[in-house]
Symmetry: C2
Subunit: 176 residues, 2 copies
Amino acid sequence: MFEELPLAEVYRLIEPGPVVLLTTADEGRANVMAMSWHMMMEFTPPLVACLVSGSYSFAALRATGECVIAIPDVGLAPKVVAAGNCSGRTVDKFREIGLTPLPAAEVGAPLVAECFANLECRVVDDGFVKRYNLFVLEVVRAWRDPAQAAPKTIHHTGYGHFVVDGETIALPSKMP
Amino acid sequence: MFEELPLAEVYRLIEPGPVVLLTTADEGRANVMAMSWHMMMEFTPPLVACLVSGSYSFAALRATGECVIAIPDVGLAPKVVAAGNCSGRTVDKFREIGLTPLPAAEVGAPLVAECFANLECRVVDDGFVKRYNLFVLEVVRAWRDPAQAAPKTIHHTGYGHFVVDGETIALPSKMP
């Protein structure tokens, strides 16, 4: 269902600041959380910084060094909020929320079948984890669902309020 | 023209991932650049990570440890692109682009009069500057223009293409 996305295109998905899902799998147990605190750090190989605070996902990411960043369309907003409202410590969040884990190619964490893009990531620098819970990830494989041709991402503005992608504008820019 | 914004509200501006302007001032010379690679790191005091690559702004930020993050509405998109298309090394970008610098309260870098929000920042951690050009900033004062009641921010998706804020949705969330 997914087709591979060139790694050089990954920044175009993360740079606009969408809410994403972050999946992990530790000792066969998959988990998923919602995340808005992330940024691009390098075009290629794509490096992404993200802040994963003291959650069950944090422990799995620390232990395995692997995760998937899955990017949901606005249609998944209720499931994104559900992912933020419970802890994987007590429930199987994929089953509870109604999301479908799929095997990834390079990492143990699952892709999310319902998301329009999935980025397989490995932790490449944990130098800021102790101080800030900030992980530096390298995206090693990227996937896009061609059936979701014009997804609209969501941007969290606090307390469950999200701005949905609106119109697109183009201006003559020298920047990538 | 600006009213003060509580620091605890700052994350609601940065978390959605808007394109911002970053201003600096070194030896009396103000400069401004466009930036999309930033993220929240802490609610309060608000910490923001940002990546400022090898530009004139980088040198000023390194030398002074101070900057302002100014957030533009979509109406300023052509000026944002203009800020990305030239270097402060050779021109006075505020004059060239037609942006108005205003004195900040706590830092030497200027506010941008046309932007709906301005965040005065100090570098509080440069441990990732050498490796990644990543600065950790603390927002020390924040300002909002009450005349711009419902600004629409822009989100860069590459090569001068921007997604503009669309509708807002609200869902019952336990998250701040």
